[in-house]
Amino acid sequence: MPTFFERKQLVTPGDLIAEGDYIAGENAYSENNKIYASRIGIVDYENKRVNVVALRAFYIPKAGDVVIGTVIEVGFSGWTLDINAPYLALLRASDVLSRPFKPQKDELSQVLDMGDLIVAKIAAYDRTHDPQLTVAEPGLGKITRGQIVKITPTKVRRVIGRKGSMISIIKQETGCQIILGLNGVILVTGKNVEDEELAVMAIRKIEEESHTSGLTDRITQMLREGKTKRSEIKE
C-alpha cells in the first residue's frame, strides 16, 4: 500500500496520492483502488483516510453554520441573500419579525433592504433545496458597523487557529470584535478604523500564508510592530 506524497506536501488535481487500502476523504476521490486529489491543496493522512486541505475552494452550506450574507432581493414574504456559495439563501420574514407577519401591512424593504449585510445561521439545507437562514438567536442579525474581509472559505479554520489561538491573538492585540462567517466573510468591528485595518491586514496575511508553518508567531510580531509604528506616528 504505497503512498506517493508525504504529509503537508502540495498536490494538484489528478495527482495520485495513494494506492491500495485507503479511503478518499476531503477533496480526494478513489478510482480502481487508487486515491487521487481533486483540488489543489495539502495532503493529510488520518489513519486510512486521505484528506486534501484545499487551498482554493468555495463554501458549501451546512446546517448550523454561521455565515455573513448580503441581501440581493426583497421578496413578498422574505429576502434572498448572497452567502458566497453556489446557492442563494432564503430568509423568511416571519423569522425576522417578532410579531406575526402580514404581507398587506408590512413593507419588507423597511426592515432589511438590498445591500444590507446580515449575520445568520443556516437553519436547513440539502442538495435539492436552497439553504434556509435564521436570525432568531442572540448575536445574529443586521450588521450596522465594522469592516468586511472576504477570504477563501477553507482558510477560515486557519484564521481561528488551533483551539482558537490565532483569532484570540488578533482580538487581544487589536481590541477588535471579530465575527467569522464560515462562508469566508469576516466582520471586524473595533473602537477606531486603525484598529480594524490592523486586524484586516492580519487576516489577509493569514489567508496568503495559510500553508506555511510558524504563522502564529509572525502574526503576533506583525500586529505588535503595527501598533508601535502607529503610536510613533501619533507622537
Binding site: 494538484t12 488535481p13 481533486s38 483540488r39 482554493r56 477563501t152 500553508h211
Partner: protein
C-alpha cells in the same frame, strides 16, 4: 494555396521559426490575473495570447437551464477583433461557436459535475492574439482557471496539436503550418488517468501517419502538463519559501 512554393521545412529539417519537428513553442503561463473572476489563467504559447476566466459554481440564469441532478458547464470561446491580421468581427462566428462546444466537451469529463446540482459554471476564453492551435492553448488555460476557482476535478486537462507539413509529422502547429500544411490533429488528454477527451483531425493522413501524429501530440501534452502543474504550485511554493527561510 499549394501553388505557393513556400518551404515549411528547410534543408536542415527546421521549421519556419527554427523549431525541430517535434519541438513545442515556448510557453508562459500565469495564474489569477483577473481578480473579478473566481479563477483565471493566461497562456502565451508562441505568438498565441489567451486569457481564460471561470465563474462559479453559481446560480444559473435563466433558471430553467438548471439541471436537477448536475452542474451545467457553459463555455464561450471568443476572439478579440484585434487577434488576427485582418479585423475580426466581434460577433460570435460559426467557428467560435463550434470551438466553444469543443472546449466545453474536452473539459467536461474532468469535472465532478454531479457534486453541486442546479448550479452552473461559466468559462470565458478570450483570444487576444491568435497563431494556430488556439483551441489547445485555450483548453490548457481553461483547465488551470477551473483549478484556480477551486472546482473539484478528476485531473487537469492538457491539449496539444500535431500535424503534417511537407511530408513530415510535426508537433504544435502555428498558423502558417496549419493553413499550408496537409493535416492538423488536436488532442486533449487527462494525463494521470490516461484519458483522451478531445481528438480531431482536419486534412488527410494515412493510418500510420495518424497514429504517429497522435503519439507525438500525446508526448507534447505530457510536457505541457509538467509546466501546468509547476505553475499551479508556484504561487504557494514561493510564498512558503519567502516566509520560512
Amino acid at each position: 494555396m499549394s501553388q505557393k512554393l513556400e518551404k515549411l521545412i528547410d534543408k536542415k529539417g527546421l521549421r519556419l521559426d527554427g523549431r525541430k519537428p517535434d519541438e513545442l513553442r515556448s510557453i508562459k503561463i500565469e495564474m489569477g490575473l483577473s481578480s473579478n473572476a473566481d479563477g483565471s489563467a493566461y497562456i502565451e504559447q508562441g505568438k498565441n495570447k489567451i486569457l481564460a476566466a471561470v465563474f462559479g459554481p453559481r446560480e444559473l440564469h435563466p433558471k430553467h437551464l438548471a439541471l436537477q441532478n448536475r452542474m451545467v458547464l457553459k463555455c464561450r470561446y471568443h476572439m478579440a477583433p484585434f487577434s488576427v491580421q485582418e479585423r475580426k468581427s466581434p460577433a460570435p462566428s460559426r467557428r467560435e461557436i463550434e470551438l466553444s462546444k469543443v472546449i466545453r466537451e474536452a473539459l467536461e469529463p474532468s469535472i465532478f459535475l454531479d457534486y453541486y446540482p442546479r448550479t452552473g459554471i461559466d468559462i470565458f476564453v478570450e483570444v487576444l492574439q491568435a497563431d494556430g492551435s488556439t483551441r489547445c492553448a485555450s483548453i490548457v488555460a481553461a483547465s488551470l482557471a477551473l483549478a484556480d476557482a477551486g472546482i473539484p476535478m478528476r485531473d487537469l486537462v492538457v491539449a496539444c496539436s500535431a500535424g503534417k507539413v511537407d511530408d513530415t509529422i510535426i508537433l504544435d502547429l502555428m498558423d502558417v503550418e496549419d493553413k499550408l500544411g496537409t493535416a492538423d490533429v488536436p488532442v486533449a488528454l487527462m494525463p494521470n488517468l490516461n484519458v483522451i477527451t478531445l481528438l480531431q483531425m482536419d486534412g488527410i493522413l494515412t493510418l500510420e501517419e495518424f497514429e504517429k501524429a497522435v503519439n507525438l501530440a500525446l508526448e507534447g501534452c505530457k510536457k505541457i502538463y509538467e509546466l501546468q502543474k509547476d505553475v499551479l504550485r508556484d504561487k504557494y511554493v514561493s510564498v512558503k519559501e519567502e516566509v520560512e527561510e
